[in-house]
């Protein structure tokens, strides 16, 4: 794969090594996400997709290798600089990770309040905007996470990730656990937001339908490294796991659409 031009690369991972005890998760993993694309991270269970995401987010220090967000190496950043970089991306976690003691609106307002003080009326308005943006009914803002359905939790998590209008979005299994209709609606929402807000989206997912619908390029984690490419390139790849994944019964079903 030819290395992309630096100014168009949003996330660049080079030579990443992650180890837990004797278990090697990543061994020299490279990854490039170009600005403005939807990039899907695919891999078998336990192949280290979530670990990779956590490493990119700076929640976990790699044993070796570098992670650059917009050309800035995370390892060299501290304090205010690091906070600034972290404000440049939004994240949703697998189970939503909404703060259970806060309402949906307060969850969305929390990142905003961390950066500045605004009158309550403005904060309510901005939360209302983000709630509408992700397709939740306006009255959802006053609800607590425990009162939401699974699909609403995913949307509320997305609304919180978009609170500061970040140009870069990380999603961990955004459609897992949703029914096919809700998952399809989430795909459309994501595409719509990505087009309208010109977001760069990095998404860990198992959902082949979502991959075929939304992703410009995918990176498959096999043998502790990553194979990147467009869907066409990846489909032609001869690695047995990739063949099984994209040409198995489920892969064919996803491609037909």
């Amino acid at each position: 794969m030819a290395a992309a031009e630096p100014q168009t690369v949003s996330v660049r991972v080079r030579g990443l090594v992650n180890r837990f005890g004797t278990q090697v998760v990543h061994d020299g993993l490279d990854m490039d996400v170009r600005r403005g694309e939807v990039f899907g991270i695919v891999g078998g269970s336990g192949s280290g997709k979530s670990v990779l995401l956590r490493t990119i987010l700076g929640l976990q220090r790699p044993k070796a290798g570098s992670v650059e967000l917009d050309g800035r190496d995370l390892a060299g950043l501290h304090g205010a600089e690091l906070r600034k970089v972290k404000r440049g991306y939004g994240v949703t976690f697998q189970a939503g990770a909404l703060f259970s003691a806060l309402t949906v609106a307060q969850n969305i307002q929390l990142p905003i309040l961390e950066t500045c003080t605004l009158p309550a009326e403005v904060l309510d308005g901005l939360a209302d905007l983000k709630i509408r943006l992700v397709g939740l009914p306006p009255e959802a803002g006053a609800k607590f996470p425990a009162q939401l359905s699974g699909g609403m939790v995913k949307r509320a998590a997305l609304a919180r990730a978009l609170a500061l209008d970040p140009p870069l979005l990380f999603l961990d299994e955004p459609t897992a656990g949703l029914d096919p209709i809700a998952a399809a609606a989430f795909d459309e929402l994501l595409l719509f937001l990505q087009r309208t807000l010109r977001l760069t989206v990095v998404m860990v997912t198992h959902d082949l339908d979502t991959i075929y619908r939304t992703c410009n390029r995918v990176g498959v984690i096999v043998d502790r490294r990553m194979v990147c490419g467009t869907l066409d390139e990846i489909e032609r790849h001869e690695h047995p796991w990739i063949r099984e994944y994209f040409h198995g019964a489920r892969g064919r079903a996803g491609r037909r659409q």
Binding site: R87, F99, S100, A101, I112, T115, C116, T117, L118, P119, V122, D124, G125, L126, D128, L129, K130, R132, L133, P137, P138, E139, G141, A142, F144, P145, A146, Q147, L162, A163, L164, D165, T196, L197
Partner: protein, 371 residues
């Protein structure tokens, strides 16, 4: 300059410029709020805009709203910014943003509050009694079929609530009895009754302090742990999983903790008694020159046959109260992390209160029966 507003020949010209992005939200808010409006018609000009994100678009929409509120028609010179048009469509479907119902002030509705409080208390007492009943029921079943007692689990709780609490209980019992002996010696010395320090320490430690302090320490240590552990299991739906598998929650989670603590607390009390007497003996020796063997003799004289048992008898009752309150509050946790913290606090406060209350009942009962 984010906004420039000028009035030219009755036409209000508002030029917006710069970056209208989330990072500049406070400035945007101030600029929009401070923007002068008025005039027959208003021309908005967005040609100077740099970046515009959705937060910025929301503030532009607010600016439009202010202009419209002034009664003037609002026109854009050139195209209306795309993000603004998009934001506006979001609000078209259901334009009215729902405002939270404003609660009436507390003073307005004392009866309402009293009623709610009474119902809540009543429900809680009902729930607690039901919980107590289920404990007895399950315990009765377990006595008939001892395999349901879950010995492994009981042993684990004896270890965690008992053995691991040994250092802190020993230390506190020792120090408290040193303090009692020290203050007692100061007072009694005035009457030349130094030697009664031994009586004071013996009776107070064996009858009250040993068991009471141990119970309070254990309530703080283990009562909170019970509530938090079961509470997190509730939040993770582990309790529901147990129920779905067909296991009895009281049998699996509650009874082993109660039995474990009812074994551990009396043992800790014996330890606290011993450490308390040791503390008294050490202080008597250092401060009052009473040698150990004389302390022992005097101690034997001060003790009635029931003194030691009067204290120890209370330990299992305290243990039952602490474990029951802790597990009961843990099972009540629902929905949020804040609830977990609140109920853990409630568990500790209530179990300490109930321990003292039961202690008072014991004191009266002992007095009546001359125990």
């Amino acid at each position: 300059m984010l906004i420039e507003s000028r009035l030219v020949d009755g036409v209000r010209r508002i030029a917006v410029g710069g970056d209208w992005v989330a990072a500049a939200a406070p400035d945007l808010d101030a600029a929009v709020a401070g923007c002068e409006t008025g005039g027959e018609r208003t021309l908005l000009d967005g040609s100077g805009l740099g970046s515009l994100d959705l937060t910025g678009a929301w503030f532009l929409r607010r600016l439009e709203g202010r202009v419209a509120a002034g009664g003037a028609a609002c026109e854009w010179r050139g195209a209306r910014p795309e993000a603004l048009a998009f934001t506006a469509t979001l609000f078209e479907a259901s334009p009215a943003s729902p405002s939270a119902p404003v609660p009436r002030p507390v003073a307005d509705r004392p009866l309402d509050l009293l009623g709610r409080w009474t119902v809540r208390r009543g429900t809680q007492i009902h729930d607690a009694l039901e919980f107590l009943g289920r404990i007895y029921y399950v315990f009765g079943g377990a006595v008939v079929r001892p395999s349901r007692l879950r010995a492994k689990s009981v042993v684990r709780h004896v270890y965690e609530t008992g053995l691991q609490a040994v250092p802190i209980v020993a230390l506190i019992a020792f120090l408290i009895s040193v303090i009692v002996a020290y203050i007692g010696a100061q007072e009694l010395r005035q009457f030349g009754g130094d030697v009664f320090v031994v009586d004071l320490v013996t009776v107070s430690v064996l009858r009250e302090l040993g068991v009471l302090l141990t119970a309070i320490i254990v309530a703080g240590r283990s009562g909170s742990a019970f509530a938090a552990e079961i509470g997190v299991m509730r939040l993770n739906e582990e309790v529901d999983a147990l129920r779905a598998i067909g296991m009895n929650v009281v049998e699996v989670l509650v009874l082993p903790r109660i039995l474990g603590l009812m074994i551990a607390l009396p043992l800790l009390t014996v330890l606290a008694d011993a450490m308390g007497l040791a503390g008294g003996a050490v202080l008597s020796w250092l401060l009052l020159d009473i040698p150990f063997n004389q302390f022992m003799v005097r101690m034997q004289d001060a003790m009635a046959p029931t003194t030691f048992w009067a204290g120890l008898l209370k330990a299992p009752v305290f243990a039952f109260v602490i474990a029951m309150v802790g597990t009961f509050r843990g099972i009540q946790v629902r929905d949020s992390s804040r609830e977990l913290g609140r109920l853990t606090t409630v568990a500790v406060v209530e179990s300490i209160f109930l321990v003292l209350f039961v202690d008072a009942v014991f004191a009266v009962a002992y007095w009546e029966f001359d125990f």
